[in-house]
Symmetry: C2
């Protein structure tokens, strides 16, 4: 299979998933120097791009279907955090060789999620890697009504802090895979599957456009990501230990061990957002928005400007939480 | 330097190049989950994305400044071929380690060209490669008035075929580097510099919006790329040997050797376009459009549908040209 056959093959797979390719908002698609797409009037274009590399962002023995899901999911999750409607994406696929079975499964995961979120592949490229690694970049593009995109910088003292679902599980599973020497191989494969299949919260993101004062997706860990909101909004926050939901698989851990994963584990791709007090109860009660939402804390004023602090209230103690999370290039 | 410091460093470099970051068409830029940009009313968004890998698309000992130039140039060239106005881009940088000197030079090349073409970095990511290679993906986004983007599919019999400048040099230089065992190292470095510094034809692309019937940029080679236009437009074409301009450095070759590079050498990033007969002479005479443009042939009707042919008229002989060019994953 050469490069052009591969590109055609990927396009055919997209058609098989009944993704609308001749949509009037895509006047020019794959096969020209670039694609042309037409956003609705008076909307901003929302752009995000993430690269996933084998051995860094996914385990080399991951099912290609799950890799296809994950690389789109992490990009969709960024659109969700902005409250954007997903629309188009480009795929840059760097492979050591073309393995048709691999590509078929990859496309299956990719386009199943694309179909679910109504996002269409419109371009990209394929390149041959000289080394043995797989590198995949997706740039996802969506839109939101002018001035309606949700940022990280508008949280206000008094706002409630919410999560769209439980966090901490992915970090725990990653730790098990790396550190548990006795981990059964079948269990390891189950864990990898769970880690590779986060479900981005795009419908919730859209629903939050007129509700949330700020929003971020949990990729580096709750503390690290929430600190981004606090720093950019010049505010601080209290989280309440008794409000956290502990993922079922973490029940066998001590409370402190579970807490470590909830606060500092990444890769969950839930949304963390803030919303004014007057909409708080309405939000939790509104099942059409999301029946998984729960409140974990409140935004408070910072003691001094440019000094955001995040506290955990636990058994009446107030503990300052560290601003740490996963970083590339760090020596940890 | 960790990941966040690197991202901040790249942003600072962009500021140094006086690229307008607080433009009203960029309401949200780097530092949030995604960027938000505002295209002008009634315009299509034009999207293209290319990955460049060390050892494949650029020589490992290339000057990082030239790598920064080239990775943006090849993407700008695709926007040029569509007649799009460049506007925003994302950068996904995968490096084995952060070398500050390398990043500084890379940014210098990248943002010098970005400034020249009024295109702003609005997002992307940085990842650590487990292997020794550098991989860079840019997604470039521009816009064009609705229905004004130039495609590959609307060339008509009778149209003239034009080049925006000489082609063939890059292919010759690449061949010299790979095959000429006696090539002096200083000369080799000069050749690499030339190959890495193509100048995308964005102003010409914009000027051609109401003139060209089709357009493509020469990345894989004149024949391979022109065949894309012919196949998608269901037409054939004659090229005239005596109309070709031979790059000065190819003068020492025989006519046939030079011709081989002109027809099949890639990496020149000139535009090849077609335009109706009635605008042809006007086009060549119009110095404000481009004083390097020259005509190389004419579009003709195909003998049968779905069977595009490209001929070279040389000393009254008519030679059918092969549809070959550079391909990833091929076994050549």
């Amino acid at each position: 299979m050469d490069e052009f056959t591969l590109i055609q093959y990927i396009q055919d797979k997209q058609k098989l998933h009944q993704i609308n390719l001749n949509n009037k908002n895509i006047p020019i698609t794959i096969g020209d120097d670039a694609a042309a797409v037409m956003p609705p009037d008076n909307h901003e274009i929302i752009i995000t791009s993430d690269t996933l590399i084998s051995g860094v962002h996914f385990f080399k023995d991951s099912n290609p279907k799950d890799i296809g899901h994950k690389v789109l999911a992490v990009n969709l999750s960024d659109l969700a955090a902005m409250g954007a409607t997903p629309a188009w994406f480009t795929l840059n696929l760097t492979l050591p060789e073309i393995n048709k079975a691999w590509v078929t499964k990859f496309c299956d995961g990719l386009f199943s999620l694309a179909k679910k979120n109504n996002i269409t592949l419109v371009g990209g490229d394929t390149t041959k890697s000289l080394e043995n690694s797989i590198s995949i970049t997706i740039t996802a593009i969506g839109y939101a009504p002018k001035n309606k995109a949700i940022t990280r910088s508008k949280a206000n003292p008094g706002d409630g802090i919410y999560l769209s679902g439980e966090v901490g599980l992915a970090g725990y599973l990653i730790e098990q895979i790396y550190n548990n020497k006795n981990l059964d191989n079948k269990l390891k494969q189950e864990y990898i599957k769970l880690i590779n299949n986060p479900m981005p919260q795009n419908q919730l993101g859209i629903n939050l456009r007129d509700i949330a004062s700020s929003c971020i997706d949990i990729s580096d860990g709750l503390c690290a990501d929430l600190y981004h909101i606090l720093n950019l909004s010049n505010v601080s926050a209290n989280l309440y230990m008794d409000k956290f939901k502990i993922p079922k698989m973490l029940n066998k851990l001590t409370q402190d061990q579970a807490l470590e994963h909830i606060l500092y584990g990444g890769d969950d791709y839930q949304l963390c957002f803030t919303a004014p007090k007057n909409v708080s109860q309405k939000l939790v009660n509104n099942k059409t928005i999301n029946n998984q939402i729960f409140k974990i804390g409140e935004v408070i004023a910072s003691k001094s400007e440019k000094n955001s602090e995040l506290f955990l209230i636990k058994n009446k103690n107030k503990i300052k939480l560290k601003n740490i999370g996963y970083q590339h290039f760090s020596n940890n």
